[in-house]
């Protein structure tokens, strides 16, 4: 507490007694929380510009998880993508969908990115159910 007193006097110009102990202390460390393992995602050096698109791409029940989306993933061979798309077309629709702030390229890392991605995926599922939409990433 001597440090606190010293700084209080020097920096705040207040008496020692007027620097109280905190009434409560809260600590957040999402990086250490096993359920979050971090606070936010971001594109880093070496990342692809459309990583978020790839993340949000839904997967079908095909054993190879063939992409059913029409998004072309960077670094993926075109022929592979087309072949995967063709295979997927003959299979049931996508089953495993993805959402979250990391899946939203525009505002990645923010709360509203998560918000938007949740809306998008829910709408896609709904439309897919209705047979009106080919799943695709925006």
């Amino acid at each position: 507490m001597q440090y606190v007193s010293r700084f209080a006097q020097g920096a705040f110009g207040v008496s020692v007694d007027s620097v109280p102990p905190p009434s409560a202390v809260h600590v957040t460390d999402w990086g250490r929380h096993p359920a979050s393992a971090g606070a936010y995602s971001y594109l880093r050096v070496g990342g692809e510009w459309n990583d978020s698109d790839m993340l949000c791409e839904a997967l079908s029940m095909h054993p190879e998880h063939a992409s059913t989306a029409n998004t072309v993933a960077a670094g993926v061979d075109w022929e592979d993508v087309e072949a995967a798309g063709a295979r997927a077309a003959a299979l049931p629709g996508p089953v495993l969908w993805w959402a979250g702030e990391a899946c939203q390229g525009e505002y990645m890392g923010t709360m509203h990115a998560a918000f938007l991605s949740g809306r998008v995926v829910a709408e896609r599922i709904a439309r897919h159910k209705a047979g009106r939409l080919k799943p695709a990433c925006s």
Binding site: Y3, V4, F7, A8, G10, A11, F12, V14, V19, P20, P22, A24, V25, H26, V27, T28, D29, W30, H33, P34, A35, S36, A37, G38, A39, Y40, S41, Y42, L43, R44, V45, G47, M54, M61, P63, H65, S67, G75, V95, L96, W97, W98, A99, G100, E101, A102, E106, Y107, G109, T110, M111, H112, A113, A114, F115, G118, R119, V121, E123, A126
Partner: protein, 602 residues
Amino acid sequence: MALLPADQRGARDISPTLVANSGAAGTIASGVPFLKLAYRVADKNPWMYPSSSLYQLCNLGREQSIAPLSHDMISSALQLWYSQVHPLFHAAGVHCSTFENTTAAAHVVRKMVSWVAIQPDLISQTEEMSPELARALWQQACSGAPRDSPQGGLQAALSYMPHLIEVWMGAHLSEIQLGEMCTQDLWSDFPGPHCLLGAAVDGSLHTWPTKAAAQTLPFTPTARVSFSAWVSANIAAKGSSCLVQNLLARIAALAHVRVFVAGVLVASDTSAEASRIVDIHLCAAAKGVKGGLTTSTVSWLHCGDGWLGKAETWAHEQGLPAAATEAAAIQADAAVGHCSLLPAGVPCHSLGVLLACSAQEQSACSAWDWAVLHNTPSLAAALVCTAPAPVFWPGTGVVWPVGGAAGDDKPIRAALILTPLAPLWHIQGCVLVPAETFTPVSACTPQEPVALTLGAPHVVCTLPAGVLQANPPVFEPPLPQWKQDAIKRLGNGRYCKVILCFEQEGGVFWPEDAPPFWGIAGCEDTDLGSLASPAGLPPVRYMENYLSMKGVPALVAVFGKLKVSARWSAGSSLYVHFCSQLALTRQQWSPVACHPATLLHT
């Protein structure tokens, strides 16, 4: 607004000392790294359309008679800001002497400047790249100043910042009403697209009484509140350089603060009127959500944690069930709302309340009672709601809407959500099987949680990137390689915030007019520096003064990485560390000590 009306603005160079013009006049000189940046900004920057900010909150609900600001426009401007202007501001918060004068550094500088000029759109928002870019830009700003001179660096920054603002705003400094910017831009998020919100609030409050009189407003507005009181006082005392001063005061915070907008803006004024403004925002958000806001507008309406703090009240007013109301009070992004300071570790689902309600308004999803939320900084939250009652956990037991919410026996119709509900749930895996072979395993009690297998025609994975990287569930069949690669490539940032709450009779012990952000400057030259990092603790990145930001008597230190126990004592080394950092920031960035004139003429 912060810009003069278009017809009153002249067509001239931005500034004699920065021979780039962002397009308002079209006068361009070559050889300036920001030349193309300015060009790129010109046709995308919402500020180019002075009245556009007025429309932001006027587009609530179904009031679509006024053309909304283009979503693409906002998006592009935000992207530009993050990639280029933002890093410079970040850099200016770094002590000049920290830049190393090496050949490699010089090479990086040249490289990065050329990138800025040639391919600005290739520079993404990346944590690794930003410092390098920032150094390059900083070197530009510091050219001519002694490298190891803090005053020289600050002087360069001080003279440079307004010009950058000019580039961004596309107008001569004399045409940018700096006083307005102080309130609307600097006290909101930063002078990029975010500042639209501040301007929009101001503009909307200005126009709402008229609408209310015409009975076209869906709620009752209060009188317009002027945000200029604080600024007037500061400008009167310090002149227009108040703008620069506040820029510097906030620089260190900018790089890591992304999710507050209106909360900062309105709560910087702790008066009762400001509190009512928050109410207005929340009411507007509520009305907007229920009225079917456009996506872009919704995103802005919900990105302020100041609003989330008010979500509890709103949820109550909306007649949401008690569980939802309670959950709405929980903190977001480790931020402390107006209403509550909840124990650390409690996940945030306040936005889920908004979502759950808005979902009911989504005609496209009317067949699917859904709500999905992955609240980035805290825990992912995801619900499969079978209306009427969205069920939130935490607290007394596992409440997972398997088979419907309480009192509702509807089966899950839509999708399962993979989300980390730890410690209540641990997602062990995701197995895709043909529907006819699926056998559910049910039964789970709060007292005796057991492995539970759920089935649904769709699964939505909202696991945070960090979980997918560090502790992913087992996917069967395995995720394809390209998906795994994309996950690996993601960066995963982390915050650690330490929030100290103070309850004092007669006010807090620190000056009530202290700015909301206290950047950390170098402390090598002071004897305080030796005490800045006791016990090998990392330095505080910046501090937040919640009294100014949110009206809560609390101080927040934001660390990058910090292993810290949630239990503090007043004599602990971390507390000492906190206070020493606090003292340093106060000394460095107090309105008196940080007065630009003081720095310039030292």
